[in-house]
Structure formats: C-alpha cells, structure tokens
C-alpha cells in the first residue's frame, strides 16, 4: 500500500524509500536543535533548552545508575542519541503527511545490530579474553564442563535473540498502531481512531524508552565489574 506523503513533493519515493528520507529528516532536525540550543545556551535553562535538558538528564540518570562511573560517560552519547532519534521518529508517525521511519524493519535493524555489536566490543575491551566467562554460567571449574557447554549454547541463542527482539518489538508496535488506525478509520471514523491515537502517543514514547532501557541493560551486563 503506497501512500502519498509530504516528502514525495521533494524526493521520489521509488529512488529513496520513505523510511530513509524521513530518517534523514529526523537527523537534520536533531542536529539543528542541538546547534540552536548551543548558540544560545544559558546556565539556568528556560523554554526549549529546559525540555531537552529534562530528556538528557533522565537518560544520564539511567546510564549512571545501571552502567556505573567507569564506562557510563563513554556509552552515554550513543544511548542518548538512540533515544532521541527513536523518540522523534515514533512521534513523526503521529502527524498526518509524515510516516514513522521506525515502522520499517530496516531502520530498526540498523539500530539494533550496532547495539549488539557494541555489547561484545565493550565487553572485550572491559574484560579482555575473560569476557568469555560471561557465557559459561555460574560454575566455572573444569569438573562442571557439561554445565558450561550447555550454558554456552543457551547464552549464545539468548544473545542472538536480542537484536531480533529489539527490532521486532519496535517494528511491531509502530506498524500495529498504523494498521489499527487504518482499519478503525474505515469502520468507525472520527471518534474511536482519536482514542487509539492517544494510545499511540503513549506507545510511541514508551517504546522509545524501552529500547533505550534494554540497550543500557545489555551494555551494563557486558561491562559490569563484579563476578
């Protein structure tokens, strides 16, 4: 089902699909907001700077509480960028004439696979070769070799499931919201779709936060100290 959207005026949807052009639009908006706030920054924030600082401080608290002081500042820019981008993309899907880039599975996979790769990269950087001990389970002596092998298989499958579930959760929520609105608009216009739209606002914000929270928890599990 091909819809006519606002971006079709500028860019041909056959050449550049909708999720890419709207994703670039979201990136441009984020960069513009960052530069605009940076040019007129105040110590006591007011107005729009206040709103952005609320979001940033919420993610900073989340990262510091879960990852700790050593690796938190290094991982914070990536996590905050992911949160802002997904929040903006989800909310773009609520506006008529725009579509959510996150309702296409490719955009979500392009965010979930780097999270997966980063967990392993930072795990090896934090622990060296001892990172493999994470996969072997609670008992790590040579006598428990069958248990270690079984735990390795289970952890391997669990780790492979992580980018898949991150992708599909976000994709399913955004696409389901779109389809429910479409079907309800055909059956009973004007009142019921508005109620579902209000639910859609909640779902958009919550799913952005859940993606970020899960990414933070996976990274925290990879770089944690105690074991």
């Amino acid at each position: 089902m091909e819809e006519k959207l606002l971006m079709d005026v500028i860019i041909n949807p056959e050449v550049i699909p909708h999720n890419i052009s709207y994703g670039i639009l979201a990136s441009v908006i984020l960069i513009a907001v960052g530069l605009a706030i940076r040019s007129s920054i105040r110590l006591v924030p007011r107005g729009f700077q206040n709103f952005v600082e609320v979001l940033t401080e919420a993610i900073l608290k989340l990262v510091n509480d879960n990852i700790g002081h050593k690796w938190g500042p290094q991982l914070f820019p990536f996590i905050c960028t992911v949160f802002m981008f997904i929040l903006l993309c989800n909310c773009m899907g609520l506006v008529p004439g725009f579509t959510a880039p996150t309702s296409n599975i490719n955009t979500n996979a392009a965010m979930a696979v780097p999270v997966f790769l980063l967990t392993h990269y930072y795990g090896v950087r934090a622990h060296g070769i001892k990172y493999l001990y994470h996969f072997l389970g609670p008992i790590r002596s040579i006598l428990a070799l069958p248990l270690m092998i079984m735990m390795f298989v289970i952890e391997f499958i669990g780790h492979l499931a992580r980018p898949l579930t991150l992708t599909v959760r976000l994709f399913g929520n955004m696409t389901a919201k779109h389809y429910i609105l479409l079907v309800l608009a055909i059956i009973s216009p004007w009142i019921l779709p508005t109620a579902i739209l209000a639910l859609g606002v909640l779902v958009s914000v919550v799913q952005a936060f859940v993606f970020t929270l899960l990414a933070t928890l996976y990274l925290a599990g990879a770089v944690e100290e105690a074991h």
Binding site: V168, G172, V210
Partner: protein, 118 residues
C-alpha cells in the same frame, strides 16, 4: 440429559472444524480453484494466533497490574517508582503479543506460500 446434549454439540463442532481438512484432500485432486482452502485455513490460523496471544498477554499483564496496585496501596509514597516499573513491565509483556501479530501480518500480507498455489 445434559451430558447427551454436550456430547452431540461436541461432535458437531468437531465435524465442523475438521471439514476443511477432509474436503481439501478431494479438492486438491481437482486442480485449480482449490486454492480457496489455503486462504480459509490461513485466516483461521491467524485468528487463533492473535486470540491466543491476547489471552496470554491479558493474564500476564493482569497479574503484574494487580501486584502493582497492591504495592501502591501498601506504600503510596513509592507510587512513582512502582508506576514506572509497571509501565516498563507491561511493554515487555506486550511485545510477546506483538511477535504473534508480526507472524500474522506476514501470513496475511506477505503471503509466503502464494507462489506455490499459482
């Protein structure tokens, strides 16, 4: 008396559900035009999938919600933290139903076996 009625109703329901499977054998030998049974069974499967997913999600989220209400009732000062944890937990449980929805959308719209029937 009640047992006889229940038995008759169960037999009728069983026959009614298994009818597409029985007739598909005969109609498959009939060549084209028998594709309608694929779509009928695919839609039946999709309906069952979403129904079961919603059933499990309802129970899971209901249990979580009841414990959250109990927690807030015991300690109204912690209601902010409990509400945040509740919303995150509900989103996690919801995502299991969303996986079932994705499978249903694939069967209905992407139609993976469509080419085999043509």
């Amino acid at each position: 008396m009640r047992k006889i009625v229940v038995f008759i109703l169960l037999t009728v329901a069983l026959l009614w559900v298994s009818a597409p499977f029985c007739f598909a054998e005969e109609a498959a030998a009939g060549g084209k035009g028998s594709n309608v049974y694929y779509y009928a069974i695919a839609v039946l499967g999709c309906g069952l999938a979403i129904g079961l997913a919603a059933f499990g999600t309802g129970i899971g989220q209901g249990l979580g919600l009841s414990k959250a209400c109990e927690g807030v009732a015991r300690n109204p000062g912690a209601s902010g933290k409990i509400t945040t944890t509740l919303i995150i937990g509900l989103a996690m449980i919801e995502s299991l139903a969303i996986y079932a929805l994705v499978v249903v959308l694939i069967v209905l719209f992407v139609n993976p076996f469509g080419k085999l029937l043509q």
